[in-house]
Symmetry: C2
Amino acid sequence: MEIILAKSAGFCFGVKRATQMAFDAAGKHEQISSLGPLIHSPQMVEKLEQEGVRVCHQVEDISDGAVVIRSHGVTAQEVEEIEQSGLLVVDATCPFVKKAQKHADMLSREGYLLVLVGEANHPEVRGIVSYAKGDVRIVATPQEAGKLPKGGKIAMVAQTTQSLENFSEIVAVCLTKAKELRVFNTICDATSVRQNEARQIAGKVDLMLVIGGFNSANTSRLANLCKEVQPCTYHVETGDQLLPDWFEGKEKVGITAGASTPLWIVEDVMKKVKTYSCVID
Amino acid sequence: MEIILAKSAGFCFGVKRATQMAFDAAGKHEQISSLGPLIHSPQMVEKLEQEGVRVCHQVEDISDGAVVIRSHGVTAQEVEEIEQSGLLVVDATCPFVKKAQKHADMLSREGYLLVLVGEANHPEVRGIVSYAKGDVRIVATPQEAGKLPKGGKIAMVAQTTQSLENFSEIVAVCLTKAKELRVFNTICDATSVRQNEARQIAGKVDLMLVIGGFNSANTSRLANLCKEVQPCTYHVETGDQLLPDWFEGKEKVGITAGASTPLWIVEDVMKKVKTYSCVID
């Protein structure tokens, strides 16, 4: 049985950087907390807890030590709260998200109506909009953009994981609304690179495995995309969830993983797949 | 026979303003010239000549008096030449074109690669790009935009008569090229309003007349659009060009006119159509 592992499987730049910073900080500080789970991987969060990184859900629950800000960032108000509490900040916000936050701040100061393309309930989006000083709208679809007011000047930024296609369609709608349109393309292409590679591999294999937290939106999306190409696709969190009969009669297995899936979980799955492969072969 | 006259037929705001300014100036100055024909209507240019407005093709041909700058503007270098020659300037540049010139100046000073969407040989486009201080590209199609360099920041303006559809498609291409995209929608909707109304009327009638100079790009485009809907469409410059047999058996006649067609020509055509109508009825 042949195994094809996606080159883009696993941690993106921002997640890799954030976990590294959390582990480094854990080695330096007695008390360390992350505001919300650092990444959407229960296994990695557990590992971090073993190193002393405690998950807290609000600033007031943290009385002492250092606070790690997770890769998709927090709100400007939360940063202020942390600073006022005298806590030490380990800012692991992804530099691409940070850029979007800075644009939101600058553009709203310059009097633009700020349009953020993304999902209103996503923590990254809540973080970015909190930096806007003026009027701001969160828009997920071209239809929603159709309801924006006409006239004036509009500035746009995107949630870093948005698809360029959706962003582009919303830009076209905003073009009919504003005399001036200023667009910062804050999309990080790690998502589309991973999705395109996964789709390509899914088209070549007869079994596709997508590894990542069940609470990870990007992993679930990845699994759905693969399922469209190869109906025999499974979303698993760990190697323990693999079932031997999935592999019966299969000749090629494709593997990819979400942006928050640690390498050791991918390696564990690989190892287990090889075991099944040997048994079957 | 019923006649439907388009509400949007004839002079747009900029052309109306420019001819008014030329007639006013002719009443005030002994010597008056226009740099190029004021508008693309040979009949109106002739009328202006009778009032003393001479057509010149370069600044050095004008030795004295006032110079009218036509509605689609001239280049920054020509304006400088006129000013250095001590000639009096009557600036009849359309305010919408003026705005595009100002944006080109400001945006290129701010370090953007300026992309002007339009026809490279059109005087309006030559005028606008002449105000750019830095790197500037004229792009007519999405395919041409595909050749733009990647990275950096791009600013965009449009020739005022461009279609929003084409502009929007080129914006989408530029979005894949730049981290920052700043778009000034300098399209004047007079063109699309006139085109949409013409298409609508052409669909209801069995004969369509489009009036305007044979050298007028916007009139020719209007005639072509009507022809797509109603093959029995004629482009005429004056009422004298109407042929009686066009009207035989026709029950509804639609009439529109280009942006540079004077009202008196439209009225003359209307009068002649009514004459044929009476003969036939």
